[in-house]
C-alpha cells in the first residue's frame, strides 16, 4: 500500500507546471481565442519535445512507455493552465486505445508530435479539437473506428469557452478503419469513456486549484472598508469551503487513475466518483470565485473567466453528473454491493 506519487512523478509534474506557466499565459490564451484554429502547432511540438505527447506510447514506438498514473498529475496541470491543445485526449484516451489496437504508425506519430488524435465520448457526441487533430476516434453502434480527420466533414459548434473547439462530425463508417467491434468494441468504448472522464476529472481538479489561487490573490490585493476583502470572514469561508471540496477530490481522482491503469473491476465507479467530486469542486470554485471577485469576476478582463468557462464546459463533458451518479448508484445500491470499512481497496488486493 503506497498511495503517494514518486519523487520523479512530482518532479516531472513540477517541471510541466513551470513550462505551462511560462508558455500558456492568460495573454496567450486570449490571443488564441481570436485565431481561426485556436491552437498552436509550435506549442504542440514543444509538448512533444518534452515527451508529453508520447508519454503513454510504448518505448518501441518512440514514447516513454508510462501509464495513466504517471499522466494524471499532468492532466491536472493541463486543467490548471486551461491548455487548449488536445493533450489529455490524445495521451490519456487515444493512446491506450491505439495501443490496444496495435496502431504503431499512429502511435509513433503521436510520440513525435506529428499527429494529435481527437476522441468522441459516445456515439454522435461532439468531438473536441477534431480540426486540429490528424485522426479521430469515432463510434458507431458497438464499433470503434479510426478516421483521418480529412475524411470527415466537420462543423464548428461554438462553446461558451472560447478555448474549446467542438465539432459535429459527419463520416462514413463503411470507409473507416475498425479498431474493435462486437463485445470488444463495447469494452473499448467503455474504456475510452472511463479514460476520458478521468482526464476531465483531473483537469477539473487543476482548474479548481487555479481558481482558488486567482481568488486568493485578488482578495488579498483588493481593498474595501480600509482592508483587503480577503480579511473578511465571509470571503475567507467561501474559499475555505472550496479548498475543502478540492482537497477531498484529489484522492478520488488519483485512485481512479490507479484503477483504470490496473483495469480494476470497479474502475467505472471510481472514475465516476472522481468526475463527480472534481466537478463539484470546480463548479463551486467558479461560483465562489466570481462571488469574491465581485463585479470584476463578471468581466471579460479578469482571468478568472478563462478557468470558469473551462470548468463549466468540462462539467458536462465525458458524462453528465446524472450518468456518473447512475454508475455509482448501481454499485452502491446494487445487489452485489460490498460497502463499509475495509472495502475501499478490496478490488485492488
Amino acid at each position: 500500500m503506497n498511495f503517494t506519487f514518486s519523487e520523479d512523478q512530482i518532479l516531472f509534474r513540477d517541471s510541466v507546471r513551470e513550462f505551462l506557466n511560462n508558455e500558456v499565459t492568460a495573454e496567450s490564451l486570449r490571443a488564441r481565442w481570436d485565431t481561426p484554429s485556436g491552437r498552436c502547432k509550435e506549442l504542440w511540438a514543444a509538448l512533444a519535445e518534452l515527451g508529453l505527447t508520447g508519454m503513454l506510447v510504448s518505448e518501441a514506438n518512440g514514447g516513454l512507455g508510462m501509464n495513466e498514473i504517471d499522466f494524471v498529475l499532468l492532466a491536472e496541470e493541463c486543467g490548471r493552465a486551461a491548455l487548449p491543445e488536445p493533450l489529455v485526449d490524445t495521451v490519456l484516451v487515444a493512446t491506450p486505445v491505439l495501443q490496444q489496437a496495435g496502431k504503431d504508425d499512429v502511435l509513433a506519430a503521436i510520440a513525435t508530435g506529428q499527429s494529435a488524435v481527437a476522441v468522441q465520448a459516445t456515439e454522435g457526441a461532439l468531438v473536441a479539437d477534431a480540426e486540429f487533430s490528424e485522426y479521430l476516434i469515432l463510434q458507431e453502434n458497438s464499433a470503434v473506428y479510426l478516421v483521418s480527420s480529412a475524411d470527415a466533414t466537420l462543423e464548428l459548434q461554438e462553446s461558451i469557452d472560447p478555448g474549446r473547439r467542438l465539432y459535429s462530425v459527419s463520416w462514413d463508417a463503411s470507409q473507416a478503419n475498425v479498431l474493435a467491434d462486437g463485445d470488444r468494441g463495447v469494452a473499448l468504448q467503455a474504456k475510452m469513456f472511463n479514460l476520458g472522464a478521468l482526464g476531465a476529472a483531473a483537469q477539473l481538479l487543476g482548474l479548481s486549484q487555479r481558481m482558488i489561487e486567482l481568488s486568493v490573490n485578488y482578495t488579498s490585493e483588493r481593498n474595501q472598508f480600509g482592508k483587503p476583502i480577503g480579511s473578511f470572514q465571509a470571503v475567507k469561508h467561501h474559499l475555505a469551503n472550496v479548498a475543502v471540496k478540492t482537497e477531498f477530490a484529489k484522492a478520488p481522482v488519483y485512485r481512479a487513475a490507479y484503477s483504470v491503469a490496473h483495469n480494476l473491476s470497479d474502475a467505472a465507479q471510481h472514475v465516476s466518483h472522481a468526475k463527480l467530486a472534481a466537478t463539484e469542486a470546480a463548479t463551486q470554485a467558479a461560483k465562489s470565485g466570481i462571488q469574491v471577485h465581485g463585479a470584476m469576476g463578471y468581466t471579460w478582463e479578469v482571468d478568472l473567466q478563462i478557468f470558469m468557462k473551462r470548468a463549466w464546459a468540462l462539467a458536462g463533458a465525458w458524462g453528465s453528473r446524472g450518468e456518473h451518479k447512475a454508475r455509482v448508484a448501481s454499485a452502491v445500491f446494487g445487489p452485489e454491493r460490498s460497502l463499509g470499512a475495509g472495502q475501499t481497496f478490496a478490488s485492488a488486493s
Binding site: Q157, E158, I160, L166, T283, A295, G297, W312, K325
Partner: protein
C-alpha cells in the same frame, strides 16, 4: 385575508394580456448590450409608452396609470407570461423615477420623466468607483460648484447600460474635505457632455454590459442636482432600497423561469432522473419561486395599506438572486454536454437561452450590494446583532 382578485383586477389582467398579445414582438429582440439591440429596445419602450404601459405605477400626469402594487404585480405577470423584452430603461423607470418623485423639483420631473417614459432618454447608474464597490461611502469622484455649474472630475465604474445610454445619475463628493457618507451630492449627468469618456467593459459573454466613465472637468448645471447639497447619501439610499427591494425584481420573472425549468426537466426526464439532485432542485425551484411571489404579494398588500419596506428588502435580494442562480445551474445540469453550446450552434437544439441566463444569473449575488453585504444588513438591522 382575501386571496381572490377583484373583478376589476381580473379585467385589468385581461386588458394587459390583450395588449401584450397584440404588441410583443414575435421575434426576440437582440441583446440590448449591442448597439442594434439597444435601439430595438428603445423602440419597444416607445411602443409601450404609446399604450401607456411603460411606467404603470407612475402618476397619470407623467404618463403613467397610477396603479397600485397589486396591479403592478398583475401587469408584471402578464408581461413575463408574454415573454416581452427586458426593460432597457429599468435604471430610469424603477430606480431614478421613484427617487425623482420623492426628491425632485417640479421642473426636474417635467423635464426628465416624459423623455424617460418614451425611451428618448435612457439612464445609466453611477454608483461604484474603482475603490468604492461594496464600500460605496469610499467614493472620491468630486463635483465642485463654480457659479451655476458643477465641475466634475473622477471616475465611475460598473455603470450598467452606460455604453449606449443618454444620461447617468450618481453621487459625487461636493465637499472636498468630507469623509465617508457625508458631503456627497446626487447629480444627473448627460453622457454626451464634454469631458466624459465612456470605456465599455465587456462582461462574461463578451458584450459591453457595463462601462467605466471618466470625468475630466465635466460641467453640469446645478439644475441637475437631485435633493440638497451634501444629501446625496440619503437620496441614494432610498434608491438602493428600491433596487434591492420590491420594485426591480418581479416575482413573475422567476416564476416563468421556474416554469421553463419544469418543462425542461419533463422533456429530459429520463436522463435527468439519473441525478436525483435535479428532481429535488426543480421541485425547490418551483416552491421557492412560488414563495417569492407569495411574499411579494404580502409585502405589496402591506405597502398598499401604508406600510414601509424595511431590511426585508435584503432578504429579497438574497432569495431571488440565489434562486435564479440555482435554477440556471440546474438547467445546465439537465442539459449535460449540451449546456456549454452557444444558442446559435446548430447542435444546440433544445438548449434555448439557458446559457445566457446562467451567465446573467452569476451577477445577481454581486450587483446592487453583494449578498455578503445583504447578510450583514439582515444580521445587524433586522436581527439586531452587534456590529463588527
Amino acid at each position: 385575508m382575501d386571496l381572490k382578485y377583484t373583478p376589476q383586477q381580473q379585467e385589468f389582467r385581461e386588458e394587459v394580456r390583450a395588449w401584450m398579445q397584440a404588441n410583443v414582438p414575435s421575434v426576440p429582440l437582440k441583446s440590448f448590450d449591442t448597439e442594434e439591440g439597444f435601439q430595438q429596445h428603445r423602440e419597444w419602450e416607445k411602443t409601450m409608452n404609446e399604450g401607456r404601459w411603460g411606467m404603470v405605477t407612475w402618476p397619470e400626469e407623467f404618463g403613467g396609470r397610477n396603479l397600485d402594487l397589486i396591479q403592478w404585480l398583475i401587469f408584471e405577470e402578464e408581461y413575463y407570461r408574454a415573454n416581452a423584452p427586458t426593460r432597457v430603461n429599468q435604471n430610469g423607470i424603477f430606480l431614478l423615477a421613484p427617487t425623482l418623485m420623492e426628491y425632485g423639483t417640479e421642473e426636474q420631473k417635467a423635464r426628465i420623466l416624459p423623455k424617460m417614459a418614451t425611451g428618448e432618454e435612457v439612464w445609466a447608474q453611477g454608483w461604484s468607483e474603482p475603490n468604492a464597490g461594496s464600500d460605496m461611502a469610499a467614493m472620491r469622484s468630486k463635483a465642485e460648484l463654480e457659479g451655476e455649474y458643477f465641475v466634475i472630475n473622477g471616475q465611475k465604474t460598473w455603470s450598467t447600460r452606460a455604453v449606449y445610454a443618454d444620461w447617468l445619475f450618481g453621487m459625487f463628493r461636493t465637499d472636498p474635505d468630507s469623509e465617508r457618507h457625508r458631503g456627497l451630492t446626487f447629480i444627473l449627468v448627460p453622457l454626451d457632455a464634454e469631458g466624459i469618456t465612456v470605456r465599455p467593459i465587456p462582461q462574461l459573454d463578451g458584450l459591453p454590459g457595463f462601462a467605466e466613465i471618466f470625468f475630466d472637468n465635466v460641467r453640469v448645471h446645478v439644475s441637475n442636482r437631485l435633493g440638497g447639497d451634501g444629501e446625496g447619501w440619503q437620496v441614494a439610499m432610498a434608491t438602493a432600497g428600491f433596487e434591492r427591494g420590491l420594485m426591480l425584481r418581479s416575482p413573475a420573472r422567476f416564476q416563468e423561469t421556474a416554469r421553463r425549468l419544469v418543462e425542461l426537466y419533463i422533456e429530459n426526464q429520463e436522463s435527468a432522473d439519473q441525478d436525483p439532485a435535479i428532481r429535488e432542485a426543480v421541485l425547490q425551484a418551483y416552491m421557492q419561486a412560488e414563495a417569492y411571489a407569495l411574499t411579494t404579494y404580502q409585502t405589496a398588500c402591506r405597502l398598499n395599506q401604508g406600510g414601509k419596506i424595511g431590511p426585508e428588502s435584503s432578504t429579497n435580494k438574497i432569495f431571488w438572486s440565489e434562486l435564479d442562480q440555482d435554477m440556471h445551474a440546474t438547467a445546465m445540469s439537465i442539459l449535460g454536454a449540451r449546456a456549454e453550446l452557444l444558442p446559435h450552434a446548430s447542435a444546440a437544439e433544445g438548449v434555448g437561452r439557458w446559457l445566457d441566463g446562467f451567465l446573467f444569473a452569476q451577477s445577481g449575488p454581486i450587483y446592487a450590494g453583494t449578498n455578503e453585504i445583504q447578510r450583514n444588513i439582515i444580521a445587524e438591522r433586522m436581527l439586531g446583532m452587534p456590529r463588527a
